[in-house]
């Protein structure tokens, strides 16, 4: 069988694939709805304290966070007091990690020597499970926002740094020669050469860092000594055995994780789709 044959077979299947895709989307939602429905029925029948029905979880989440006055965009005080600080800390930590990671990564990746010099230290830093570092920050910075932002930034910086360095290191040598011939200065080289060629790698790192930031945000708030945040809501509800709030916070975190990842993917698509040289 020739290669062309295989391609032709695939080409003929395009329309069918399209129909399957539409059917697939439909199937997805139907199956999800059925699964949630089954959970609802089973939970109501069993009346277990630990697994409340999804309807009640949704209602509880609404009551807890989204039934506020219009001038607060329907957010309740609990939402403003807990979701806001969590997101703020996470954003601060992630932005610091991203900026520092990209800057240091480009610096490290520009010369093979620097890369070889830093590589073992970076690999070790990455190998440390991030939650192990949080107690260090607790000792140094005490409980509070500083400690949380520092742990998020310090844990999330490594994937960006290492991936950026790797990306910058693998810049096509031919292009570097061309840049030398064209007498591009350092800033121009960075702008037109190093960053674009490292961009796909940078985004792979950013995705890892984003999920790490979310994890560290929650983890640092689960520790005793914090006073607000989604993680605090979780431990507080746990200590009161308020399972509904625990479940509501979990759903909220899942939705947040989904939204953040989708947002980053959209940014990635825009940037890499346009700016990437062939």
């Amino acid at each position: 069988m020739s290669r062309d044959g295989a391609v032709a077979v695939r080409g003929g299947g395009v329309r069918q694939v399209g129909r399957v895709a539409v059917g697939g989307v439909l199937l997805r939602w139907v199956v999800l709805a059925v699964a949630v429905g089954c959970w609802e029925v089973a939970a109501r029948a069993h009346d277990s304290v630990y697994f409340p029905p999804p309807g009640r979880i949704a209602h509880h989440a609404y009551e807890l966070w989204f039934s506020g006055p219009v001038r607060h965009a329907f957010f309740t005080d609990a939402a403003v007091d807990n979701i806001g600080p969590s997101l703020g800390r996470m954003a601060a930590g992630f932005v610091i990690a991203a900026v520092a990671g990209i800057a240091l990564g480009v610096a490290v990746g520009r010369s093979r020597r620097t890369y070889a010099l830093c590589n073992p230290v970076l690999q070790f830093a990455r190998a440390v499970p991030p939650p192990a570092l949080v107690p260090v920050f607790v000792v140094v910075l005490d409980f509070g926002t500083q400690m949380q932002v520092a742990s998020i930034a310090f844990s999330a910086v490594w994937p960006v740094l290492i991936n950026t360095a790797e990306g910058a290191r693998n810049t096509d040598p031919l292009r570097l020669d061309v840049a030398a011939v064209l007498r591009l200065n350092a800033v121009e080289r960075l702008r037109f050469l190093l960053l674009p060629s490292a961009l796909p790698r940078i985004f792979a790192g950013l995705r890892l860092s984003l999920s790490l930031s979310l994890i560290l945000m929650v983890f640092s708030e689960l520790l005793p000594g914090t006073a607000n945040g989604i993680g605090f809501t979780l431990t507080d509800a746990q200590s009161r055995s308020d399972l509904l709030t625990v479940w509501a916070a979990l759903v909220l975190l899942g939705a947040l994780g989904y939204l953040l990842n989708t947002g980053l993917l959209a940014v990635e698509k825009r940037l890499i789709g346009k700016g990437r040289p062939i």
Binding site: A35, V128, R207, S211, I215
Partner: protein
Amino acid sequence: MKRRQELGLGLLGVLLVFGVCEAVSRAGIVRRSYLPPASEVLSRALELAGDSVFLDGIGATLRAWVFGLGLACAIAVPLGLLLGSVPLVDAAVRAIVEFLRPLPSVALIPLVSLLLGSGTETKVALITYACVWPILFNTIYGLGETDPLAKDTLRAFGFGRLAVLLRVELPGTAPFIAAGIRISAAVALILAVATEILAGFGEGLGIFIAQASLSTDGTRDVLAGVVWAGALGLVINGVLVWGERRLFPWTPEQRERAAAHRGRGV
């Protein structure tokens, strides 16, 4: 640059960082209880290697790690093969998976501790949950990347679905599965340590770190624990990478690509 030169430079880098930490602490730029000299931390870490209580703790952490990762493999690989080879099932389950995956698994610690207490079961359950995703997605992704020509050829010779799976798809997917397991190995360590730190009692590396951070002047012990955690992570990753190279000497690029694409989420 030669391999030897690279190693030399790397060693120099390690010594530099070590020296800077040592100097910063000894010169009194930061409080000594915040950053003890690197040599003290290192000697404490070495001292712990002879401490049987500490080693038991490491053992407990590693046991949870092995059980959780093993369970995750046992669930994720067959499930991934099923989802990857039957598009209908994949489409049906995909929505549920997409809703479960973005949930940061450390957030499950309070719920699971309410359900299972704060023992090994909690750790294993959490590790399993978190480790299933990278392995599952890498398996599905790898299955999609297997050579269609080879599959068609086998089918043309009259081989059945199972034979195609065993002879082409499974060997082709194995490197991707291995990459997924390597990612999960790191995730498992993160969850083991995180659960232990929050539990605060029992035995384990995380518990050692948590208790040291509560005692006055415990930074040296905390950092020694962190050094151990990092060393553990390095050794685990090193062994897995070595194993992958031995088992699948081909397609290192593909594995890296799969890792970059599917490695998100803990």
